[in-house]
């Protein structure tokens, strides 16, 4: 349903989920979101006109499966959202829907219609070389409204890999919202890879807060084939906290990918780095909004960002849109942005060694995306991402040859 219903019936939703929710608190959250929905504004994605997209799917059945089950690591608490009781929710209630409340239309719809979710708690002082890996598969023809909350305590060190694939087949309208809490003095390496098919239209929102002296190294691979919105936001709340956010995106076919990547410096001496590199093939559109916001009082803050887009076809549309909002004087900020084509002198050089145009082009692109790819913490995920990109590029080149 394009544009969505005018309002949501909270009581009817509560009744529909009465048997599925194991927590009255969760059901109350649905009702609260349903009430907020009609007045909530559309989320802001500059230069993306998405309002007519079919983003408002419903259905009480879970729209996801976990091909490898839910992660199990010693000391880590993992709960399924709908089956969690009030008691199970106790350690999570202070955080759940706090960063991503029903303040915009799509998030409000998401909370009201939640049909799956995972809650993960990483305890204080947790240290492990083994990453926590969560594989989630979005089902065809079944609308998923999936919510993930990861709470990392203080003085912890953890790598979390959050991967999404999709089942090919019937269309669905999915929302995936993730909240990440980084405790004091903790270091979190968070990597998400979203790679599902053109049958899925998605609203993806991930939001992190980082407490004092916390470090969040975030890498995101956005490789979906369908129309999608992805908001990746971080609030640097604590003094001396740091976020390093790297995004790689590949847009193909006729899809539109709209990405907001935002870091807000709230605490003093906070450091934000955003690096987004994207490639567009065929008739696709890719919009990078890089948003660096330094609020009043964030003295000594540093906000840097770089947004770059490469277009491989004349029919491609690309925007690299840096937005700097600075409300404090004693800060450092900088940005770089470009939208361009593959460098002709690089192509000539590679081809002069015998590489075909297609191989040379893929090599230049891989190099261009390399700054983000090499930051992905798990080698297998990194390789999978490289392989997916390679496959998509070959497909895009094949389509281009057929059109010539």
């Amino acid at each position: 349903m394009a544009f969505g219903p005018k309002q949501l019936d909270g009581a009817a939703l509560a009744a529909a989920y009465a048997d599925l929710d194991h927590s009255a608190w969760l059901t109350a959250q649905r009702q609260r979101a349903a009430e907020a929905y009609s007045e909530a504004p559309w989320p802001e994605f500059a230069k993306v006109s998405y309002h007519a997209w079919p983003l408002f799917g419903t259905g009480t059945a879970a729209g996801v499966t976990y091909p490898d089950g839910l992660p199990t690591s010693a000391g880590v608490i993992v709960r399924s959202l709908l089956t969690a009781t009030d008691a199970d929710l106790a350690p999570f209630k202070d955080y759940l829907f706090k960063q991503t409340g029903p303040t915009d239309r799509l998030t409000a719809f998401h909370i009201a219609h939640l049909n799956s979710g995972v809650l993960i708690q990483i305890p204080d002082h947790f240290h492990s070389d083994q990453p926590v890996v969560l594989n989630t598969r979005l089902l065809a023809g079944q609308n998923a409204h999936h919510h993930v909350l990861v709470v990392v305590g203080s003085d912890a060190q953890v790598t979390i890999v959050d991967r999404y694939t999709g089942e090919d087949g019937a269309a669905s309208a999915d929302s995936v919202v993730t909240e990440i809490v980084v405790g004091e003095n903790s270091q979190v390496n968070f990597a998400n890879v979203d790679a599902f098919g053109s049958n899925i239209t998605a609203f993806i929102r991930r939001h992190a807060t980082v407490a004092a002296n916390g470090v969040l190294n975030w890498t995101a691979g956005v490789l979906n084939d369908g129309n999608m919105l992805a908001d990746t936001s971080t609030d640097l709340v604590g003094t001396g906290s740091t976020a390093d956010v790297k995004v790689v995106a590949l847009a193909t076919g006729k899809q539109t990918q709209g990405l907001n990547t935002r870091v807000t410096n709230i605490g003093r001496q906070t450091t934000a780095n955003i690096l987004q590199h994207g490639v567009i093939l065929e008739k696709a559109a890719l919009i990078f909004n890089g948003i660096g916001h330094i609020v009043k009082g964030a003295r000594g803050a540093d906000a840097q960002q770089e947004n770059r887009v490469l277009m491989l076809s004349r029919a491609a549309h690309g925007y690299a849109n840096p937005i700097l909002l600075i409300d404090e004087n004693d800060v450092k900020a900088g940005h770089a942005a470009s939208v361009g084509r593959v460098d002709a002198s690089q192509m000539y050089y590679l081809m002069s060694r015998g590489l075909t145009k297609d191989v040379a082009q893929r090599l230049v692109i891989r190099g261009f995306l390399g700054a983000v790819l090499t930051a992905i913490p798990l080698p297998t995920v990194q390789q999978e991402l490289i392989d997916t990109i390679e496959r998509k590029l070959i497909h895009g080149q094949t389509v281009a040859h057929q059109q010539n």
Partner: protein, 271 residues
Amino acid sequence: MDTLEVKNLHVAVDDEDGHQEILKGVNLTMHTGEIHAIMGPNGTGKSTLSETIMGNPKYEVGEGDILLNGKSILDWPVDKRARAGLFLAMQYPAEIAGVTNAEFMRAAINARRDDDHQISVREFIKKLDDKMALLDMPEEMAERYLNQGFSGGEKKRNEILQLLMIEPPFAILDEIDSGLDIDAMKVVAKGVNAMRGPNFGTLIITHYQRLLNYIVPDVVHIMMDGRIVKSGDAALAETLEKEGYVGLRDELGLDVPLTDDTDIPSGKGEA
């Protein structure tokens, strides 16, 4: 034996001064097993000749032909010429971040092989180690991004490394000596001399005779104003070193402006 022929080649480029003819009828025949050198003053078309043979799309051939083993290659794109046996060590090689030197060279070798005969990792690494040792290149150069942040000398060595890895029948070395100190030049010469043999021919483009002390050519060509004006053996380079281009021009009775020539009106602008 392979043969590369350049016949009455006329080449123009479009630059800020408009459409300019740079090569005005170049003739040159070389075979594998031979080392040719082209010398000439600045702005005479040496680099234009090498880029045109390689197939740089910026250069437009107005007249004449380039033949590899009797077949015209004018319509071939640069990658096809490369796979057919041509190699150009460039004056200004491109820098490509995110692609390692090793992965690039492996792709270049494999571009010449069919899917069933790709070079094995072990064979590749062995060859790479050998060639890098020959050129006194530290191992880490293999894992650095292609030409990214390389010094001028490192870039030249890296061009020669690619030559040694790819082993083409014909190589054009475009001012491979420029910006090199004497030790680096000796290393580069060692690399080129290692390729010397019946299955390899090279065309060395240089301003100075010095490089030719280390890579002794079979044939020396002098180029001025878009043409080869004189050819001879290695002794010709030594004569030129003594007399300079102006001396040679006057000896040949040519009416040719020399770019770096301040005494004689060049015909361009106010002298």
